[in-house]
Symmetry: C2
Subunit: 323 residues, 2 copies
């Protein structure tokens, strides 16, 4: 058995999977919004313990614990540096060693987008393809690239499709640049755009829904509910997000021309197939191969994908893999 943890800005998702990649235990806990990295590590330890209990295995007996993390990762040392959206995590924190201590199992860390892409490639919608683009539409917009069956990481920073520029001198992005896809489509940017328009007098129920649900931010669920209520501003902002995603994904495909596109991420999964279709439609006018577009699919592993992909970081001995 192997464990995997998807460390997100909103939630910590842990799974324990068997040799065939089937989920035998899972636990989801809210990511601490206060405290420091060691508090986050403590929640991660707790989540794996519960998932392992469900799977009927001691954490010390796990083949290992994989971690999909935001921020800058040093896989060798197991450190995570300047993780956006995590509390007081500007500096470097030895997350791997902290979890090894708490769980008694070896750990391995990689980028959250890369592990989610790998999960879809090996066990999800990407199985039939040798090359693919994973589009993770959530707090930010991340891209995972697979070419010739292997992840393409470039010099370590490939796949930043959220920062493909779709409008020169366009909207300010949370990254500080202008006109990025994420400036229009990321959950964080969408919230800022909604708040700005709300403050300027645009009518919307987004913030009422947020409060009613006891949330302190516009989660994917809040956006989904606002759409159900036919909230005009929510529709308008998400339509702008779709336009930006369509242009950005098309531009990326014009460069890469991969076999398939797979949509995941918090917003992508929550808004689901109707929005997958909208993005695909918005992509077409910008797509060079519009007479032969690649399949544009939903991620199959849902919101466990990141954690499952993290677990796949733990390589099994050949005999076990064959069994």
């Amino acid at each position: 058995m192997r464990a995997g943890i998807d460390l997100g800005g909103t939630k910590v998702q842990a799974v324990v999977i068997d040799d065939d990649g089937r989920v035998q235990g899972q636990e989801r806990l809210p990511t601490p919004t206060k405290g420091d990295p060691s508090d986050v590590a403590a929640v991660m330890v707790r989540s794996v313990k519960t998932a392992a209990e469900q799977a009927g295995v001691e954490t010390a007996a796990l083949a290992g614990v994989g971690i999909g993390s935001p921020g800058v990762i040093n896989s060798r040392r197991g450190t995570v540096t300047s993780a956006r959206n995590l509390p007081n995590w500007e500096g470097s924190f030895a997350l791997g060693p902290a979890l090894t201590e708490g769980l008694g199992a070896p750990t391995r860390i990689d980028n959250d987008v890369n592990v989610a892409t790998q999960a879809e490639l090996v066990l999800g919608a990407g199985r039939p393809y040798r090359s693919m683009l994973g589009v993770f539409w959530g707090t930010g917009v991340g891209g995972g690239i697979v070419l010739r069956g292997k992840p393409w990481l470039g010099r370590g920073g490939a796949g930043e499709i959220g920062h493909v520029c779709v409008v020169i001198d366009g909207a300010r992005c949370p990254c500080g640049r202008r006109g990025c896809v994420e400036a229009y489509a990321g959950r964080k940017a969408l919230e800022a755009r909604a708040r700005h328009r709300h403050d300027k007098g645009h009518k919307t129920d987004l913030f009422k829904i947020m409060e009613k649900r006891g949330r302190d931010r516009l989660t994917s669920g809040v956006w989904a509910r606002a759409l159900e209520h036919d909230d005009k501003l929510a529709h308008k902002l998400l339509d702008e997000a779709v336009e930006a995603l369509g242009a950005g994904v098309a531009s990326t495909l014009n460069v890469l021309d991969v076999d398939a596109v797979i949509l995941g991420g918090g917003l992508g999964l929550r808004l689901g197939d109707p929005y997958r279709e909208k993005i695909e439609k918005a992509m077409m006018p910008h797509l060079f191969s519009s007479d032969n577009p690649p399949p544009f699919l939903m991620a199959e592993l849902g919101d466990l994908g990141g954690a499952i992909g993290a677990a796949l970081l733990i390589k099994l001995p050949k005999a076990a893999a064959a069994a």
Copy 2:
């Protein structure tokens, strides 16, 4: 000895190279603007004959003739279909067989951008790198991608960096789409933009220079001369081109994160290093890895690069390659 031909919209460039890739003969002829594909083939045959004569070799004794061509290429059959910018070349023409008949040597055809990229990788500025992006700024804007030491072609249509969208709902591109890099930066689009503004009363010497030089289009040389004359409209339009190229190349790098960028193409080579610098500067505000940008270099093989790359399509027997 091997021959290579770069088939462009303006010129047919032939070279004959030896086993070490050194140019032993070369000929450049204008591409016919009238007639049909067989007239173009006849000019190509003539250019190789002259280059071979210079190199002191019979064309029938060549190891082969490589061709870098625009349009849709079927390498196996040696056909070129719907080649933009070539006369009456909407349909399919068996260019390879026509040249084999005219020269008595085997032929091989590939995409013009791919062969120029390969030339820079093997013999030019790309030698030190395992991954690179070739930016060919000419009549259109083409991109050649090398990853892990090999060309990346996707499903056959990768590298279309000229059709990365930099302004949603932006200027109309010759390809019919809106807001593409090429809509602002391609020589063909630049000419249309210049003519439009000239017709609207903007002052410019671009068309006077064109006529004085006996040209029927705004060649790279015409643009370069206009810059020397400090022509305001030429400066303004090229600055807009640079902005679009900067954003498009940055977006491409945000996706690929390759080891190096190499600038070539008719306009790129003619405007040279000052414009390479301008594009690099325009790229920085959009580049995700702006604290660690990849080297941005001029193509080293100049305007023979395409023809040399075409010659490299002809593989030498191992013994000759080692000698």
